[in-house]
């Protein structure tokens, strides 16, 4: 694989590690786009009003599908963002885990424990509930 990559892209240290990722991305995009285009070419196209309705049987829609969301989602969003930042700190730790050893493990458990206090606070205060 490495020779194959070097043959096409030369000896660039950064890019080499990411070429498989890039090829993966291209294949994924190509598959999604290719499927849509192929379906557009192959499928028959005979629309009529009943077929285009969202539900062929059942009651007609009463209001628009776009609705204003509850403010509760926003609180969950903020909590998600904070735990996302925590996950961000876990990433270099996981990469360097071998070198850091037990010291790094204890240190990270302390970090998580402090944030766990916030999690239990949110739980206790009912921030995660819908009632």
């Amino acid at each position: 694989m490495q020779e194959f990559i070097s043959a096409f892209f030369g000896d660039y240290s950064v890019i080499n590690g990411y070429v498989p990722l890039f090829i993966f991305l291209l294949v994924a995009l190509g598959f999604a786009g290719g499927t849509l285009i192929a379906a557009l070419i192959i499928r028959p196209h005979k629309p009529y009003p009943e077929k285009l309705a969202p539900y062929e049987c059942g009651m007609p829609p009463l209001m628009e599908a776009h609705e204003r969301f509850s403010i509760r989602f926003y609180l969950l969003g903020i909590l998600f963002l904070l735990f996302d930042v925590e996950a961000m700190f876990l990433f270099p730790w996981a990469v360097k885990y071998d070198a850091l050893g037990l010291f790094g493990f204890i240190e990270m458990m302390l970090f998580i424990a402090i944030l766990l206090v916030g999690y239990f606070y949110a739980w206790r205060k009912g921030a995660l509930e819908w009632a």
Partner: protein, 170 residues
């Protein structure tokens, strides 16, 4: 080869952000912003700043965009799409961007002659290992600021819950 990728990602950033500011539908604009973040993380990878690239995707495209989308969904998007857009600030916007372009041009045009640039080199295709380097310093030398960061996150969490729960309960 790397220069080709650099131009590709830069063209992606410029194209996606131009599309973003011209959309009338805010949700389309937000999704185009996600696309811009992905191209930017590509630029970071080319510069050897892999940790920044991961932050860009995980935090900005993942976390902050969720908040953006929620705040968009809290308002009546359909009404704002139907409204006629007005550009009363266009004069000031053009003036501000011209000043910004001038500033960037004066700084970059002089190359490395500024004192702040001494000993600083940004090159395409820097050696990887940014994450390892960060990890080996952050969890040993800067242990205390790292643990304090968790207290900061805890304070933000409690503050958000206190403020938001009061609004919801009322």
């Amino acid at each position: 080869m790397e220069l080709l990728f650099f131009y590709m990602f830069s063209a992606g950033i410029i194209g996606a952000s131009l599309l973003m500011v011209t959309r009338a539908n805010v949700i389309h604009a937000a999704l185009l912003l996600v696309l811009t973040f992905f191209f930017m993380s590509g630029i970071f990878i080319l510069a050897g700043a892999e940790f920044l690239a991961v932050v860009q995707v995980l935090l900005y495209a993942g976390g902050i965009m969720v908040l953006y989308l929620f705040s968009i969904m809290l308002m009546n998007v359909e009404v704002s799409v139907r409204l006629r857009q007005y550009h009363r600030q266009s004069f000031f916007a053009v003036a501000a961007s011209l000043i910004l372009i001038f500033e960037v041009w004066t700084v970059l045009g002089r190359g490395g002659s500024y004192p702040a640039f001494k000993g600083f080199s940004w090159q395409l295709g820097a050696t990887p290992g940014n994450v390892e380097a960060l990890g080996s310093v952050l969890y040993t030398k800067y242990l205390f600021p790292f643990e304090v960061a968790s207290i900061l996150l805890l304070a933000a969490m409690i503050g958000a819950i206190v403020l938001a729960k009061r609004t919801i309960d009322r």
